[in-house]
Symmetry: C2
Subunit: 473 residues, 2 copies
């Protein structure tokens, strides 16, 4: 019996998607089971047929159901690897073949915990294929021609709508489509920081921002971000003394630490920005990539001063390879930044923009994101459990509520992260060293571990190797 | 009877493609005619079956033949619009329906001769669709993940191979894949010209280069490029006096004039570059987009000093919307430029790179380019004929041997291009004003006309409107 709640924050199709997902994952709906015809189900539930079709599309995109021509939609025979892997240790639903997979598991010779993105087997290949073909059917050559520098208008609208649902009052005219979030950051920096100007960021910070500062010959100054958050008193002094042109920070699930800036600090930071008329570039690339509803309103959502630019994209959390990001600026800055984009690469590929629009509009992107978040949360827990098993009481680490990374601190009376990495690589595991994320090469005893790339047993083996390497240093 | 020449510069499959193309376009092979089975034809001609399959693929991509499942390949019932349009006035082959199309012709309310690219109905939609699907079949999620900043290795190899066939000795390791040719130029400029540095170019020059200089706050100095070529004596003085950091120029089919730098000037320019150790950025975006085999070896091909960088791409001539370009640099500069690319946008979309690799490797891109060149040549001739009909003896213009543009000069005792544009727009035609292509706003009595966008009757109507507007000014 399906019960829908018209007053719930989720749309009807999302509720329907969740219902069937649970039914299939719990085993209540078995392999080969046929789903109700969309028209009949829509009548029965008294909802639009579109809602049913959208839910079915999302289930198909997630690899849970399959369409057999002229016969209807059926639960797949074999759940996608994605599901099989995390369910392996979920316990509540073990497919017949799974225990076999587990026993015959061979571990990779190198377990790489150093990468900066999701694994490729999490990519929504079939959904993307359908979107690309639909776009070519509909738009033909126009899908392969130039787009306006600002971006494909329906994508700008779809992005504005998505941000609206996160409490951000953004108009389509304020959205500039970019080549991934990296280009959004680079364009904002180029537009707001003059040559030899001063760029302020946190320490640690996103490694791509350090690249930009070096390439652009900017002076990069930093304010520490510790367990207690950003040192706001120190920040105010720094602003007074150095008068930076722009403050870049990642407010939610900071790469590398996973930290979330507190609500109190967000408000305080906005007050400082208004007092000193300091423009802020907020990187929201992990916003919404959340395991425990730990996300807070973005600075951009809270801001009333017009000083906050917001950069984000779909690279870190869904499809890196299409390179679709965006920058939200203000009417005053928009045309200046667009001119920089025009000079940089004319426009972002139209085919990719149009396919992404389809994925967003159909709800398939969000449905896929939900599946990926579920898998990532499970993998995070597996990595945390492995750390607990081997290194409890000796190493310390963060428990991130979202994003892809755990930030581990090893004792400062032992090997540095750089020393550990050499030994670890010999034993078949790697990680990103903490100092990479600091313009000042701070954090010599910190490691960033990406927990998304492997199934739980591999993650556990990785931590076993890492611990063994540390003991051997 | 098919005759192949193993010593000809064209490959066997290209010869085979040309043979069937001529047969179909001339009407010797009629609609519905079945093509020989590939194995039988390969045996008969004593060539590899792959050559036959490649030729058939290219014919299919060009819309000349169609595959009917399990029955074979057939000449299409209806030739694609592309062919119908130019054959309308070719005279030698008029499809049954064509004269009807011609009579019922309605002209667009605005005939836009101002655009900077090919029309979207020239895009290889079906070839791109097949390439995208093939890539997703083969690579799955890897097609949607990050690529190396330098580019997808097989694409770098395919580009190096293509340049080899144009006499350029380029290694795959010297190819950096970029977001269109525009990004290739921008990265080279950023890497070689310091902030507030001096960038030298021709007058007129590519409009995107002017954008880059303005955005990057560079001083842009120019040397005139007249009917007699570049003023090389003036150039030497300018180099001595101003010591520019980089000389950018488009050597073949200069946008906007269509000019080709002579062989003598190419050699002289290289001598100057070597004497003054002046790096040259050669824009080869129209190289190979040639109607009369007027192309000359690129500076890069002639260079022995290592001072020439070469930027090009597939945007202007085949598929703008995938935004695939490339920069050929030297081992000394490569890593510096890659770091700028990394900071700018991490990498060019992998899906697009992989699809382009398929199009290049299969020969479909070159086959399609041949079709497009044929159509463009026909349209160029139609625009030239229309100019001759209306404006002969009053206006003067270039006869470009390639590219997309005709450069028209109107008398300097009449309206300026800007004044003419206002009147022309009222009468339903536009163009790009000459001054747009000059950092000094020179060329007030010049117009750039794109002849690729319309079928001959529409081009003639456009010139009729333009002439009427000029008479009315």
């Amino acid at each position: 019996m399906i019960t829908l709640n018209r007053d719930a924050p989720e749309t009807l199709y999302q509720q329907l998607f969740n219902y069937f997902k649970e039914q299939i994952l719990s085993g209540a709906m078995k392999a080969g089971k046929r789903l109700p015809a969309s028209r009949a189900l829509a009548d029965e539930l008294d909802i639009s047929r579109t809602s049913v079709v959208n839910a079915y599309d999302a289930l198909e995109s997630a690899g849970l159901i399959v369409s057999r021509e002229r016969r209807g939609l059926f639960v797949v025979d074999k759940l996608p690897i994605l599901y099989a892997e995390w369910m392996l240790s979920d316990g509540d639903f073990i497919p017949a073949a799974a225990s076999h997979v587990s026993e015959s598991q061979e571990f990779p010779s190198l377990i790489s915990l150093s990468v900066g993105s999701l694994p490729v087997d999490f990519m929504p290949v079939e959904a993307m294929r359908r979107a690309l073909n639909a776009v070519l059917d509909r738009d033909a050559g126009a899908a392969l021609g130039y787009e306006p520098t600002e971006g494909y208008k329906p994508l700008r609208r779809a992005i504005a709508d998505q941000l609206h649902s996160r409490g951000m009052n953004v108009k389509a005219d304020e959205v500039l489509v970019t080549g991934g979030c990296q280009q959004a950051i680079d364009l904002a920096v180029q537009s707001l920081v003059p040559p030899n100007g001063i760029l302020l960021t946190t320490d640690p910070t996103y490694i791509g921002l350090i690249d930009i500062a070096r390439t652009r010959n900017l002076e990069l100054i930093t304010i520490p971000w510790s367990d207690q958050g950003i040192d706001l008193a120190g920040l105010e002094t720094l602003i007074q003394e150095r008068r930076p042109h722009l403050f870049y920070l990642m407010t939610t699930f900071l790469n590398p630490t996973g930290a979330v800036l507190s609500m109190q600090q967000r408000r305080h930071l906005l007050t400082l920005a208004a007092t000193y008329q300091l423009p802020i570039l907020e990187d929201g690339v992990y916003d919404g990539f959340d395991y425990e509803d730990a996300g807070l309103p973005s600075l951009r959502a809270l801001d009333e001063s017009g000083l906050v630019l917001y950069a984000s994209g779909f690279s870190k959390t869904v499809v890196p390879g299409t390179r679709i990001g965006y920058l939200i600026s203000s009417p005053q800055l928009y045309s200046r930044i667009s001119r920089v984009k025009q000079a940089a690469d004319v426009c972002t590929p139209g085919l990719n923009q149009r396919a992404m629009t389809e994925l967003l509009r159909s709800g398939q992107l969000n449905a896929h994101l939900e599946v990926v978040r579920h898998a990532c949360k499970h993998r995070r827990d597996a990595l945390l459990a492995a750390l607990q098993r081997y290194a409890s009481g000796t190493w310390t680490w963060t428990t991130p509520m979202g994003g892809l990374y755990i930030w581990v601190e090893i004792p400062s009376n032992g090997p540095t992260a750089v020393e550990l990495l050499q030994k670890a690589a010999d034993l078949g595991v790697d990680f990103a060293i903490g100092a990479s994320f600091s313009p000042n090469a701070n954090w010599p005893y910190h490691l960033r571990l990406n927990f998304s790339s492997y199934a739980p047993p591999v993650l556990e083996e990785g931590i076993r190797r890492l611990w063994t390497a540390w003991l051997a240093c």
